[in-house]
């Protein structure tokens, strides 16, 4: 469960918290553990893992942080070097 804090960018959303799924504007940040074709095994901030479809953000690399929703990655999360002032 590495880098847990880095993944909690979206309030408390995790793969196990299905309330966010239906409500639909809260994506879940996950880190890519391994990639196989159009799917990637990903881990969330709580350490839970799920297979995520990654066609819409391909190519993805192990270690990248993706924003997922409904089992599909919709964006990549980039590190923000500075907090906007």
């Amino acid at each position: 469960m590495a880098h847990r804090d880095e993944l909690l960018l979206s309030d408390s959303c995790t793969l196990d918290h299905d309330g966010c799924i239906t409500c639909s504007d809260a994506g879940i940040p996950v880190r890519v553990v391994s990639v196989e074709g159009d799917d990637a095994l990903c881990e969330d901030g709580a350490g839970d893992r799920a297979e995520i479809a990654v066609e819409l953000v391909a190519p993805v690399l192990v270690g990248e942080v993706l924003l997922t929703h409904g089992g599909v990655a919709i964006g990549k999360v980039t590190a923000q070097e500075e907090v906007p002032q």
Binding site: L9, S10, G19, G27, A53, A58, G71, P84
Partner: protein
């Protein structure tokens, strides 16, 4: 690598709060709408409201797809779910959204085969595993969720899976915002734009808000400091007489959005001429249906859904709350006939619904000041 620590930094939050305070004109009230239900949730969960000066009021917008779904669409889903050949699949919260004669959970208890899924891809897997049954997915959500439905349908088509269809209730965020801006009920000064919808559609679609209506916008993330900073951004715009779309959530929102996701949406969906929204009525070009190329997967066609319209229960004031005209505690049934355990209206069902957020995180502080103002 900075993703979140800085966005929960109390010292920074106090500094931002203090700067917002310094920008307030004491003779003026500022009404800022957070469009997204996820933001409403963050505001109450983290007590953002208490960090804002009295003259700055946050108004909750229509950005919770469960909450804006009219009752007729729930009834139509239930009618499909009751068919014996159907395995009906949906996200968790949909199970409890009230239709005119009950909800999906109650229909399931009466024997219908209704299964909660985490992803439409799970529904497609169920279809693969049950070739002798018809599997229907109840699709709901803004542009954040629509790509997952689109991708699932693209995979279904590619694999030639014929026993899978989608009952499509996807909606788009821009038309209801325009409807709100045109509404005489509400005078808003600025907007906090939805974060994850914008991951898909980018920031450009909001440009009409400053250009046509003179309203500043800041697209925001979901951490407490994200919200505060976006409020500061629009307050600065108001103070300096600027009016534009700014992106506070650059770490997850590219200005142009996700072009591949947008291509996928364009292939699978087309705009409906109009769609009914709870509280807003019929809004033109505000929802998606399956395109001609995917018509074979359209559950509305497959099961000849009649398009029924059902009025909300008389006591329910979700419509006024959705438009920001009433605060949740001002609804006559808030916390009494309508609670998260036994919701009368959809705003109390969804965890991002404004009423559920108030009930769970903000209710006590409101009881003192607002209980007497219920209408």
């Amino acid at each position: 690598m900075k993703y979140v620590d800085e966005f929960r930094n109390a010292e920074l939050a106090r500094a931002v709060s203090s700067e917002i305070n310094s920008l307030v004109d004491p003779d003026r009230r500022y009404k800022i709408m957070e469009i997204c239900g996820g933001h409403t949730h963050t505001i109450y969960r983290h007590g953002i409201k208490d960090l804002l000066p009295e003259g700055v009021e946050l108004v909750h917008g229509p950005g919770c797809p469960v909450c804006v779904l009219p009752m007729g669409r729930v009834d139509e889903g239930i009618a499909i779910a009751e068919r014996p050949e159907v395995i009906f699949t949906c996200f968790g919260d949909m199970m409890r959204v009230p239709g005119s004669k009950g909800n999906l959970q109650e229909v399931k208890a009466q024997g219908a085969d209704i299964r909660m899924v985490y992803s439409p891809l799970d529904a497609l897997r169920i279809a693969r595993e049950n070739p002798d049954r018809e599997v229907v997915f109840y699709a709901i959500g803004f542009e954040t969720t629509a790509p997952s439905t689109a991708l699932t349908l693209q995979r279904a088509k590619k694999e030639g899976i014929e026993n899978f269809s989608v009952f499509c209730n996807h909606v788009t965020i821009v038309p209801p915002v325009r409807a709100l801006l045109d509404s005489p009920d509400l005078r808003l000064d600025a907007f906090v734009g939805p974060g994850h919808v914008s991951t898909v559609i980018g920031c450009r679609p909001y440009e009409f808000m400053p250009e046509d209506y003179g309203k500043p916008v800041a697209v925001a993330g979901f951490e407490p400091l994200d919200l505060l900073q976006s409020i500061l951004m629009v307050m600065r715009q108001l103070d300096e007489g600027r009016c534009e779309v700014e992106n506070q959530y650059g770490r997850a929102v590219p200005w142009e959005g996700n072009l591949r996701a947008l291509e996928s949406l364009a292939e699978v969906f087309e705009l409906r001429p109009y769609f009914e929204w709870r509280g807003l009525g019929f809004v033109s070009q505000s929802a998606l249906k399956l395109s001609e190329a995917y018509a074979d997967f359209d559950a509305e066609v497959r099961y000849s859904s009649p398009g029924v319209r059902v009025a909300d229960p008389k006591a329910c004031q979700c419509g006024e709350v959705l438009k920001g005209v009433l605060k949740p505690p001002e609804c006559r049934v808030f916390g009494t006939a309508c609670t998260p355990e036994s919701p009368l209206g959809a705003l109390m069902v969804s965890s991002e619904g404004a009423c559920a957020a108030y009930y769970n995180f903000g209710r006590k502080s409101y009881e003192k000041v607002e209980i007497g103002s219920r209408r």
